[in-house]
Amino acid sequence: MSAKDVERLRRARERSPFLRWTAAVLAGTALLAWVGGTVDATDLFQSRRADNLVRFLSVDAMPPAVRDAAGAEKLGALWAWARDLVASRYLSAAAATLAVAIVAAILASFAGACLAPLTARSGPGASSRPRRAVSFLARLGCVLCRAVPEYMLAFLLGALLPSAAWACILALAIHNGGILGRLYGETLENADQRAARAWHLAGAGRLVATVGALFPAVLPRFLTYFFYRLETCVRESTVLGMLGFVSLGHWIVQARAAGHYDEMLLAFGMGAIIVLSADLASWIARRAVRDAS
């Protein structure tokens, strides 16, 4: 009796075939990646790789000055080598990396804020047919903007524009502008609409009502997203330098091409430091915004 009931309830239980299929497809794809020959894990454990690694660590990654120095002087030589490189190249490259990220994040944020009233499916007159079409198109635009990786965008724009810095900034701004347009739009949707409606009823246009009444309220949220995106921009900016302008990525490519892996590793360290400090600065700024609002 009870067993029958249990079986009936089990058959009627709420299930999601969509999620089950998703899990199965993803697991199958991951498995195929490892066993299908596309990703060759065994190759990683061959002696050739081990030899490469040993050579890399003992020879390539060792600055010549350090290798030549005797015992106790090695540390001093390492310090002198690193200091000279940082002072002559990497400090200014790190500054350029940061500068590109900051300008790009600001442009992306501006683009996102302009797109937000369009992508948001709320506000005065939101349910009208043309308004819904605009919102759909704006959202599609956002998806397209972020569909192409920054690196590819920068690669194409770099061939087009005379300034490599601009190419990287625009690439970052387009990609992140697409993301922020969507996030800012969702923020506007979730904001309290009453003020905007009041402005609209008092005769303000739809745009004026949205910007004037809602933006001040959602500013903290916008700023929080801005700082999150600034973090990713700094991270991306370290690699976009590989495409030309004089940032850390540029020196990484140069060092790699010349086989100076010691210098490359130092540039990596410098990149890690600016990424970590950008994360820290962003965290502090987000807390400040949160506490002030």
Partner: protein
Amino acid sequence: MAIRSTSTIDAGGPIRRFPLGARALTLALIAAAGVVSARYLGLDLAGLWPRDAGWNLGGDLLGAAVHPAFGYENEVPPGTPAFPWRILGALWRTVLFAAGAMSLALPLGLLLSVLASDRFWQLRRRSGGSPAARIVQVAVRILIALMRSLHELLWAVLFLAALGLNSAAAVVSIAIPFAGTLAKVGSEMIDETSKSPAAALQDSGAGRWAALLVGVLPAALPELLSYAFYRFECAIRSAAVLGFFGYPTIGLYVAQSFENYQLREVWAYLYALIALVVLVEAWSRGVRRRLS
């Protein structure tokens, strides 16, 4: 969620301009940083204006955008797969690289997110708390920060230099920063779950790991899996770019065709990539809707 907006619009209250406080100061600082950065880079609007060569390329590129290639633009050696097959193969390998990376990043990120969370360490142990707990947690958080501090392409370049061209190394290079990001976001999600279910299970005698696996993780998992799916989309983009470094994903063909000035082929690859990402995005939206 975390942000309250009390100072500007209260229901029925007067509408005020935002006060000249911390927020205005933040905006001013951001603007100043932008101006300083632009000056430092020597940016001017002329840099946005293509030169003659740029115009020619731009014209060709735009023209090619309207007429993407459906077959090879030039003669190809016999035995080369048909163009649509090459596109699909490149897309498939891109997805495989991304899926391989996520298959490493998800379990690793999940483990690290547990170890980095406060909630896990708050679970009582039968043997009582140990001073090492805090040390382990801080060490894991530092590890996560270090994993995230290098962009996946830099990890890829590092492995290229240390090991040579190896597809597994490429997958690992995506997996490392992605696991770090999953761990960081995941530990925040775990800490946002309610304390009481796990506490109740522990009161009835459940151990720490049982309380974690039944009382804590299930509550955080739907949100975490939605986020992981979004990261899968990001991994596809990263895998695509790995092609620029010689791996057989779609970036390789974009770069090759671009070098050979076969711009219509470039657009065919780009459109295929865009279609893939849009498809995954739609899939991701379906997953998010069902999980939340």
